[in-house]
Symmetry: C2
Subunit: 406 residues, 2 copies
């Protein structure tokens, strides 16, 4: 278990390396895997051939490999209504290869395992309060939890492809270092060794660290969002993930999407970052609560309660946040040319009260507004989206480089 492929640098399926014979294999395996995994309804080998442009002969050998490798399963052939030999439906293999999502956030930590069908195999979340916590302590706890989960998965005969650790802060994708996580009070540390995560057979489990909002953004891809969108996650801080063609837009060191400190009003209140009038001072969770007349450590439920009872102050607070958010998102859309915005984090449940203000301001400020239809919607991935997004991302790589598994 805890397989070899993820440790190797990466197959040259589309890398800049020299293309050899086996490169063809890799690419076509990927092509076939994508066809099977992306199809809304199970395809047969012949369908795959038609979809990919490969011949049925080639598709047959490739599919056989994927079945052997445990990435694809064959369903019992179902007699169609038309003439001809019945086709064998191909589907993603369940409970075979799985991905692990891990997360530490301000008020919980958890682990979740997904299989290639997208189903949840195990999910364990523990509530807690990790404001100004000890990294070694918290990550050690998560590591223990993760080890249990990995063992359980292993006993079930599944193979773990890898793991993603989501953290609410600035993560350097190259060095796997957490630069700073203000709301945890953590800074400048390497989280992976602190997990101490090993497979039951003592093998290494490859863990990649990433920003929480970005992984949550990827979780949306399980739904019916377009392949390019902007995900904005509101909490104490405000993070964002930019998804283009189903993949995160990568920056030099992974430090993009820092929407929380976009200028809303240079004459506004001073922000913790040192500047004035940042978005966080208008649409951050604590600021919304405060301006709704609640204590900053109040729960989202309390705010929703007020909103549902048409409380004046709460309504005004959320409207104020909506205007600021709309202004920042308009900048975002002008710069990136994306037309769909998904609201995550606390914004998900506030969406009914935020939506109108956000759309109004965006309509005013987005230059291309007359030509495109801007869409703002609530996130659909449910709670602990980053856990699912992380696991999903691991599995996306499996499908993208299936050659390592056959």
């Amino acid at each position: 278990m805890t397989a070899e492929p993820s440790t190797t640098p990466r197959p040259s399926a589309q890398g800049p390396g020299a293309a050899r014979q086996h490169t063809l294999r890799e690419r076509n395996l990927q092509l076939v895997a994508r066809a099977v995994f992306d199809a809304p309804t199970p395809l047969s080998r012949a369908d795959v051939a038609a979809a990919t442009g490969l011949t049925r002969a080639t598709v047959s050998t490739l599919v056989d490999r994927l079945v052997e490798g445990g990435l694809v399963s064959e369903l019992p052939p179902v007699a169609a209504q038309r003439a001809g030999r019945p086709a064998v439906p191909l589907v993603p293999a369940g409970r075979s290869v799985v991905g692990l999502g891990l997360e530490v956030n301000v008020d919980y930590l958890g682990a979740r395992v997904l299989d290639l069908t997208g189903e949840v195999v195990v999910s364990r979340v523990t509530a807690g309060s990790f404001h100004d916590s000890d990294p070694a302590d918290v990550l050690g706890t998560l590591g223990t939890l993760a080890r249990d989960v990995v063992a359980e998965v292993h006993d079930g005969g599944m193979r773990l492809a890898g793991a993603r650790l989501a953290l609410p802060g600035l993560v350097d994708a190259r060095t796997a270092e957490l630069e700073v996580a203000p709301n945890l009070g953590w800074s400048s540390l390497e989280p992976v060794p602190l997990l101490g995560l090993r497979g039951p057979d003592g093998s290494e489990v490859p863990v990649v660290v990433a920003n929480e909002a970005k992984l949550a953004a990827l979780a949306e891809l399980a739904g019916d969002v377009p392949s390019s969108f902007l995900y904005v996650s509101g909490d104490v801080g405000i993070g964002a993930g930019i998804v283009v063609d189903g993949r995160l837009l990568a920056a030099e060191r992974g430090w993009n999407g820092e929407v929380g400190h976009v200028v809303v009003d240079p004459a506004g209140p001073r922000c913790s970052c040192g500047a004035y009038g940042c978005l966080e001072q208008y649409a951050g969770k604590e600021e919304i609560l405060r301006s709704a007349g609640l204590p900053v450590d109040a729960s989202l439920a309390e705010l929703l309660e007020l909103l549902r009872s048409h409380d004046r102050g709460a309504g005004a607070a959320v409207q104020r946040a909506g205007r600021a958010l709309g202004s920042a998102l308009a900048d975002f859309v002008n710069l990136l040319g994306v037309s769909t915005v998904v609201l995550g984090g606390v914004y998900t449940e506030l969406e009914p009260w935020l939506r109108d203000e956000v759309l109004t301001v965006m309509g005013e400020r987005v230059l291309a507004a007359p030509f495109v239809s801007l869409e703002v919607r609530a996130a659909q991935a449910g709670q602990y989206a980053a856990l699912s997004g992380g696991a999903r991302e691991v599995l996306r790589e499996v499908v993208a480089y299936p050659a390592a598994w056959v």
Copy 2:
């Protein structure tokens, strides 16, 4: 002339199509071409083999194809200082395959031809005043100019790979339609047919339309910029190009980089776009001139004159623009995670007076500022950068898909 390849949809070198034997050829041709074109000093066949990981045998046949196709030239073998058979240096072929850049801007139009070495083969620019002009008229004039240039190139025995038309406005990349160009007074038209451009042998010349600032951004790649940067071009309007890994970041319909209407101050002056306090109201060319005490149709030279003589008002005007620009760029950098900003258009010459303010404000507002070194520099591509950038972009595609030319 005016070759066939660009009309075909596109070779499947990295497209999602099925990988066949000849796909290997295409990819490795591309690999070898890139190696030869990107090398700072001429490589031999053996060097290319070492750089790409292909065997010398394979490289030899591939290079022979590229030489036959006129993309690569062999220099006379120069006896090295060390032992062994002297190597044959390979270089991009000059005056063989060429790209055409076209542009209509507010006060000029022009055409420029570059060859694969990056050298200018022909360049013709005509001054004019195209504020509120007739599109058919102006594009017809440009078409005539272009036809002359194409004929000249053809008579010189060169082959034209294609053309890019740069326009200062919102261009839909899919439909090749110009949505709106405020400073020309144009809207909703198809520019390419109005050019009426045909090769001397009556063949079609494939023309792709693009935004002027984006093509100017690509021209910077000829210099020593990093492969990812942000290009901001100041003029009456303010445009931007986002370059990631040497390529423009593509949005759904090509409408990104609209930095001119980013929020600087919601309490600021009303903008022509309908919103308040847009960047253009602080750092647009006309606003800078006005606040420097010059008429809005004054030339950049007059402003520079004032600045050089340490005029108070002019200095303050540029500082004000610099602060606003810094604020907008900080948002940009926070969102995209790029650390290099190139100042183009009128900002190029204003850079010495802008730079400090821009960097100061960015240092305050960029969240990752403590961890990265932000760089702000003046554009280096010279005048009419979009002409060079457009021609360059045509040739980049030739190098990226050399299989069509061998």
